[in-house]
Amino acid sequence: MRYKKLFNGLKERNQLAYIPFLLLGDPSEELSLKLIDTLVNNGADALELGFAFSDPVADGPVIQAASLRPLENGFSVDDGFNLIAKVRAKYPNLPIGILTYANLVFAPGIEQFYDKAARSGVDSVLIADCPVEERELFSGSASNCAIDTVYIAPPDASSSSLELIASNSQGYTYVLSRKGITGTENSQQETGTDLIKQLKQLQAPPLVQGFGISKPEHVLQAAKAGVDGIITGSAIVNLINEHYNTPDKMLDLVAEYARTMSDAAHNARHQLKMAHTIEKGSHYVDSRNNQAAAAGNGAAS
């Protein structure tokens, strides 16, 4: 329900959702919570929180390097759920999704994992190495615990896969802007409008684009392609990788980055409209723009 409320609200304000990604427990439990506060206070509309895994095949070097810290500190999956419970207590309306790997869900017992997720206040689970074709192993337990299951729609998916993704994804649909693994080292390619169009035709849940989105111009491109939100992961994790030894600086930089990206997400559609109008030679002042941005920030803080 939290996702539904969020996307309905954003739709009214003609804004994209800004969803940052963080690894739970990175660089420490205390700083992890501070980082989350920073993101929320600087415009995050929802959170995507990851569990560190020993073999993160869907992630690039930036997130893999970050994964080592919680693993070395003995920050467990249970510690992660406890941290989420704290975040949930602070922000009762904030949609919280988790991103994890199949073995972390499977090993403790699938039902137990989803039960813990539900108890700690998680809204959705995305398993990076579970394609929609393998959903049966997890989907029953997820729905028993009233947890949304998010699937990823990649650029080359067959039409039968896309149909499955659209009809099984809950909360939102994670749209891949390009092939490959996570990381800002690959330049973002323009999102295939075909993919977006097909998913919309299939009435998929709100489309949130991730992988390779690190700059405001990427957000504009995403808005142009017609998505409903963006996820940034590696860019923030990169700031943590570089500055975790100087926490104040790290928090300042993350705050600044989140503000820039959330502004971009909240203003992108208005900007596009303006550019379109200017192109046509008439002057257009969007009076809703500033109000909407203010409302967006207010709602999330």
């Binding site: 690039g60 467990s76 073995n103 929609v132 192993l137 896969s161 891949l176 693994i181």
Partner: protein, 403 residues
């Protein structure tokens, strides 16, 4: 390729699964690549041109059939006879060449011009490099940094044959991390690149495909044993890391229930220590590298590092078919320590003039145990999966640390 649960006595893949094991637990992004590979593989089974070309390469380039050699003195205990299926005599020095030629041909058929592969001991890397050189494909081999160091001659062999070797120093810097890197590469390159996985692990269709291309080991051995002793062996023994040489020699014997199938896992420094790679004996069910299988892991599902004196067995998961063979009771799995394997390595060299790979030495050590424990004379067939040249420097360091 939907999940279908088949009965414990059914040993065929149904879709992506064998029993409840296998599957395709990969990022959604890789599903089109797996589907394309599945289609190409299934088509190749019915494609006469493909089969004829593969047969020709296996005969004229790789040197099949490989012989079966009876040991003259190794483990001649209680009148038991030990027979070795000589995959060490294959071009490339190990059984790996069989399926690599097949997959490289398949890649060409799919119009891919680049091959990526992972390697532990280096044998799969060497096999991939030679097949790519032969067929005019570009090869990139991911190899754990630790393995690059302990298998330096194989790194040089690969480079000589034109392959690019990329040392991986993430995680435990061994085979599992090389697989992770190869999967990552494939996620952005699959349009032009085939991932030539080296064992019966990974997502479907790899376990079935590699099994199909390695099955020739057992098919030949079965005929050869019939000629040599007039009947089937009492036991077939092979080492198990990922499990491709074991599946290769087991596959054609699975229906012959009187034949004991025995897989030998690396017990490293002992099953009671953390330094081993006995996934089937000490691991738990889990999901790694695309398959539901057994994994060495902690209670939360973080994958643990394995250990074996032999780089080729140093893998914390195992092919899903082995899990099915074990849980159904069709095959037995045992373990042999580093020390016992090293002993067998030296003993076979001395008694037969054959230097076995450290991997195969595990199977040899168990063959000796089995012969010693048996009250009746046994005919034991051991898959000598590779030759030990690649292990010489490593073993030399262990036996003469002052060198």
């Amino acid at each position: 390729m939907n999940q279908k649960v088949n009965t414990p006595t059914n040993f065929e893949f149904e879709g992506a699964y064998i029993g409840q094991f296998g599957g395709q637990f990969v990022p959604q992004l890789l599903m089109p690549a797996l589907q394309q590979l599945h289609n190409a593989f299934e088509a190749s089974l019915l494609d006469n041109d493909f089969q004829t070309e593969l047969k020709r390469l296996l005969k004229e380039y790789a040197g099949r059939p490989t012989p079966v050699t009876e040991c003259t003195s190794y483990a001649r205990i209680n009148q038991s006879r030990i027979f070795l299926k000589r995959e060490d005599l294959l071009h490339g020095g190990a059984h790996k060449t069989n399926q690599v030629l097949a997959q490289a041909l398949l890649a060409k058929k799919m119009g891919k011009h680049r091959i990526i592969a992972e390697t532990g001991a280096g044998q799969h890397g060497v096999a991939t490099a030679l097949a790519c050189a032969l067929l005019g494909l570009r090869a990139t081999i991911y190899m754990g940094k630790k393995d690059c160091d302990r298998q330096a001659p194989n790194v040089f062999r690969m480079q000589l044959m034109g392959a690019e070797v990329i040392p991986v120093d993430n995680g435990s810097a061994s085979l599992k991390d090389a697989i992770n890197e190869a999967l990552r590469d494939w996620a952005s390159s699959y349009e032009t690149t085939h991932y030539l996985l080296g064992t019966v692990a990974g997502p479907a269709p790899f376990p079935k495909m590699v099994r199909t291309f390695q099955k020739i080991i057992g098919e030949e051995a079965k005929q050869q044993m019939k000629q040599l002793i007039g009947r089937l062996p009492d036991a077939v023994i092979a080492c198990v890391g990922g499990g491709s040489n074991a599946i290769g020699i087991f596959a054609d014997f699975i229906k012959d229930e009187q034949v004991r199938l025995i897989g030998v896992e690396p017990a490293g420094k002992g099953l009671d220590t953390n330094a081993h790679g006995a996934t089937l004996l000490k691991g738990q069910e889990g999901i790694l590298h695309g398959a539901r299988t057994y994994v060495m892991q902690d209670k939360e599902g973080q994958v643990q590092e394995s250990h074996s004196v032999s780089a080729g067995l140093d893998y914390p998961a195992v092919g899903p078919e082995h899990v099915h063979l074990m849980t159904s009771g069709r095959a037995e799995y045992v373990s042999v320590t580093d020390e016992e394997a090293l002993e067998a390595f030296q003993e076979l060299s001395k008694s037969e003039g054959i230097i076995p790979a450290l991997e195969s030495s595990h199977a040899l050590a168990y063959a000796k145990k089995l012969a010693a424990e048996s009250t009746e004379p046994l005919n034991i067939l051991v898959n000598l999966s590779g030759r030990g040249d690649k292990d010489l420097a490593h073993v030399m360091n262990i036996l003469n640390p002052s060198n």
